[in-house]
Symmetry: C3
Subunit: 344 residues, 3 copies
C-alpha cells in the first residue's frame, strides 16, 4: 500500500487529526510500528499507549485526542483497520492464471481458462475447476472432484475423488479432504474396513486450516455448511454434518455421524463423541469433551462437558477439595465425641 | 455397480421379497436413497423407517416384512451390505500400473513391474516397492525403504529412509512415517538432538489415517503390529511397540517407548505417557490420559485415566460437589451448636 | 560406522575392558543388539542386563565390571554413546547439492550454490536459500522467504510467503509455516477473515516436528525463539512469541497472542489459551489446559492446570470422592439423631 492519510480518510469515511499528507505504506501493531505504518487503537486501550509509537498514523475512536501522532478518527477503529488491510494490505501472492507446465492435468479434467494451477499439481480425470479458482503448487485434486469459483488451495492440499466444493472455499496447506472414514467390522483376520463410499461436500465460503482432515462418508455425505471456518489440525469424521458459520479452533476432533447446527463455536482441542446432535449457537470451551447431545444455545465447558457456569464453580471448588476431606474428618471426630456421652 | 436384486440375492445367499428384477446401481443410507440405490436396515431399527424410502431395495433381517419396498432378507444385514459394498461398490480410482513419467525414481530403486507409481512421486536409491503396490501422486519414499505387496499409499505420503512396510498396508494422504523421534539432551547451547538411528516397521495390514505421524526409533525400531488401524492425526512416538489389531480413533498420541499389547482400542484424543505398558484387550475412552501401566482387559476412562466404572461414578457425582460443600458447612454449624450445650 | 573399540576409546576418552580390536559397525539397544553393535548401559541399570547381550561392546559407567562382554568405560555412558552416534552413526541421506532438474525455482529466487534443492520442490520469487541448506523433495518455499545456513527441510514442507528462518533450522516432513492465523470478525454473511498480514520468524536452531503448523501473525510476527524444539502435530497460533530453548511434546496447541519465556517445557496434548503469559522455566504436564498466565518456574498439571503438587493431591483424592459422599451422608444421619434428644 502507498496512500496518504487524507485519501484513506475519504475512502473509509473518517476524519484526520494531524498531517493529512503523511504517506502510509504498511500495517503494524502499535509497539512495533515503524515509519510509514498504520496502526489502530482498540477502544478501551489507554491513550497513553500512543505516546511512544513511531507509526505514521493510528486509527482511533472518534473521542480520542493525542498530541504528536496523526490520527484517523472513525466509529469502529478495529473494523475500519481490518477493512483497510483487506483492501490495501499485502495479499498472498496469486497463483499465475493458467496451468503450470509441470502440473499434470488429465485430459478428461476441466480447468476453467481463468483458473490457476500451480507447479507439480495433479488433477485427475473428471475433475472440474471453476472460474478464477487458484490451486497452489503440489496439490492433488482427485477424480470427479468439483471445485467452484474463486476458491484458493494453498500448496500441498489433497482432495480425494468425488468431493464437491462450493465457491470461495479456502483450503490451507496440508489439508486432506475425502480420506476414508474410520469404520471397521470384525473379520476372521482382525478388523476389516467398512467400505467408505460416500463423499465430502464443502459448501460456499468454507475455510479449512493447515493439515486439517475431513473424512468422506461411509454412505451419502460428510457436509460442512456455508461459511464455516475450521482452524489447523482439526479432524472431521465420516458422515458428520456441520451447519453454517461454525468456528472451531485448532485440534478440535469431531467423531463420526455428529450433527451440528448453525453458528456453533468450539475452542481448541475440543472433542465431540460420535452420533451426537449439537444445537444451533452452542459454544464449547477449549479442551472440552462432549459426550451427550446439546440443546441450542448452551454454553459448555470441561471434560466431560457440563454447563459452563457449573464447570466454573467446580473449577473454583477443586482446590478446596483437600480441605473438604479434612473438614469431614474433623466432623467425624467431633460427632464421635458427641455420641460418646450417650454411652456414659 | 449394476446388478439385479435376484443376482445379488444369489450371490450373498439371501431371499428376495418384492421385485427380483429391480436393478441396483448405487449404495446409500435409507433417508437419502434415490432410485437404483441399495440400503440396509439395522436390526432393532423400527420397520416404519422403510416407509418413505425411495430405495430400490433394502437389506433387512430375516424377520422383517414390509409393503411397497423390495427386500433382501439375510441373517446379518449390515455385514452383508458391507460385503456387497466391498465387492461391487465404488473403489478409490487405482494408480495406473507403471511409473508415471513425472515420477523421479532412482536407478538404484526397485519397483515391481506390477506396481504403480503416481505423478511427481520420488523414490530414492535402495527402495523396494512390492507387487501390485500403488504409490499415489506426490509421495516420497526414502532410501532403502521396503514396501511389500498390495499396499496403497494415497497422495502425498512421506516414508523416510530405512522404514519397512509389510503387505496390504494403507497409508492415507499426508502420512509421515520415519520422522526423527523427539529426544534431546542438554548441551552448552540448549537442547541437542539425541541421534535417532532406528527405523519404523509396519507389519502386514496396518492402516494409517490422514496426516498421522510415526517416529523412527532412537535405536532398534518403532513397530506397529499386524492389522492395526490408526485414524487421522495420530502421533506414535519413537520406540513405541504396538501389537496386533489395535484400533485408535483420531488425534491419539502415544509417547515414546510405550509397549501396547494386541486388540487394544482407544477413543479420540487419548494420550499415553512415555515408557508405559498397556496389556492386551485394554479399552480406553476418548480424551483419557493414561499415566500408569495398564493390566490386560482393563477399561479406562478420564484424565487421569481410572477404571471406567469409577470414572462414570465420579462424573455423575461431579455436579453434586457444590451441594456437598454446602452440606458439610451445614453439618459444621449443626455440630458447633451440638457442642455448645457442653459449655453451657 | 566401522571402527575398533580401541580407536573409539581413544576418540571419546574412555578405557577398554575386553577385546580392544573388536569391530563396531552399528548401534543398538541392549536386548536387540547383534554382532558388531555398540550399546550403552544407563547408570543404575543392573549389570545383569549385560549377561545375554550379543553386542560387540557396551558403553558403561567407570565402576561397571562384567565378564564376557567388551566394555568401554566412561564417565557418562549415555552422553558418550549419543556423541558416538552423532559422529559415526547413520545420518539422514543428504539432498544432493544443487537444484534437482525437476525442481521449479523462480528466476528471481536466490539459492546458494552450496545449497541443495530436491526433486519437485517449488521455490518462489524473492526467496533466499542459505549456504549448505538442504531443501528436500516436494517442498514449497514461498515468495520472499529467507532461509539461513545449514538448515534441513525434510520432504513436503510448506513455508509460505515472507517467513524468516535462521540457521540450522530443521523442519520435518509435512510442516506448514506461515498459514493464515485464525481471526474472524462478524460480517453480513457470516464470519469474515481478519487479514493476517504479519510473518513468521523462526530463530536459529529451531526444529519443528512432522505435520506441525505455525500460523503467520495478524500484524508484526509470530516468533519461535532460538533452539526451541517442537514435536509432531503441534499448533502455534498467530502472534505467539515463544522464547529460547522450549521443548513441547506432540499435539500441543498454543492459541493466539500467547507470550512464552525461555526454557519452558510442555508434555503432549497441552493446550494454552489465548493472550496468556507463561514465564521462564515453566513446566506443564501432559494434557494440561492452561487458562491463566503463569509465573516463572511454576510446575503445572491438569485441565484446568493448577500447581502440579495440588493436582497430584487432587488426583489421589479423586477415587475417595464416592466414599466422601457416603461419609457425609452418615454424618448427616448421626447429627440428625444427635439433634433429636433436644426435641424429646
Amino acid at each position: 500500500m502507498d496512500v496518504t492519510l487524507k485519501v484513506l480518510a475519504a475512502r473509509v469515511g473518517g476524519t484526520v487529526a494531524g498531517d493529512p499528507e503523511v504517506r502510509l505504506t504498511g500495517l503494524a501493531g502499535l509497539e512495533s510500528a515503524g515509519p510509514g505504518d498504520l496502526c489502530f487503537l482498540r477502544p478501551g486501550t489507554p491513550v497513553e499507549r500512543l505516546a511512544g509509537t513511531r507509526a505514521a498514523a493510528v486509527v482511533v475512536a472518534e473521542s480520542v485526542a493525542a498530541e504528536g501522532v496523526n490520527l484517523l478518527r472513525v466509529r469502529d477503529p478495529e473494523r475500519v483497520f481490518n477493512e483497510i488491510a483487506r483492501q490495501l494490505g499485502p495479499k498472498p501472492p496469486p497463483v499465475p492464471v493458467g496451468v503450470h507446465p509441470t502440473a499434470v492435468v488429465d485430459g478428461a479434467a476441466h480447468v476453467d481458462p481463468t483458473a490457476a494451477v500451480g507447479p507439480g499439481t495433479v488433477i485427475e480425470a473428471g475433475a472440474e475447476i471453476g472460474p478464477r479458482t487458484q490451486i497452489g503448487a503440489l496439490c492433488y485434486v482427485g477424480h470427479r472432484v468439483r471445485v467452484g469459483a474463486d476458491c484458493r488451495f494453498f500448496p500441498r492440499v489433497v482432495v480425494r475423488e468425488d468431493t464437491w466444493i462450493g465457491d470461495r472455499a479456502v483450503l490451507e496447506a496440508g489439508v486432506v479432504v475425502g480420506s476414508d472414514g474410520f469404520g471397521w467390522e470384525a473379520g476372521p483376520d482382525g478388523p476389516r474396513r467398512i467400505p467408505q463410499v460416500g463423499r465430502v461436500v464443502l459448501e460456499d465460503d468454507v475455510e479449512l486450516g493447515a493439515n486439517t482432515t475431513v473424512d468422506r462418508a461411509r454412505l451419502d455425505e460428510t457436509r460442512i455448511g456455508r461459511g464455516t471456518k475450521l482452524d489447523n489440525l482439526v479432524q472431521v469424521g465420516h458422515n458428520v454434518r456441520i451447519g453454517a458459520h461454525n468456528l472451531y479452533a485448532a485440534q478440535v476432533g469431531i467423531a463420526g455421524t455428529v450433527r451440528i447446527g448453525d453458528g456453533v463455536e468450539m475452542g481448541g482441542q475440543v472433542g465431540i463423541s460420535g452420533h451426537l446432535e449439537i444445537g444451533d449457537g452452542v459454544q464449547i470451551g477449549a479442551q472440552s469433551g462432549v459426550m451427550r447431545s446439546v440443546e441450542p444455545g448452551q454454553r459448555l465447558f470441561g471434560s466431560p462437558a457440563v454447563a459452563a457456569n457449573l464447570r466454573k464453580r467446580l473449577v473454583l471448588l477443586e482446590p478446596e477439595l483437600p480441605g473438604l476431606f479434612r473438614r469431614v474428618k474433623v466432623l467425624e471426630q467431633k460427632v464421635a465425641r458427641l455420641e460418646e456421652p450417650a454411652n456414659d
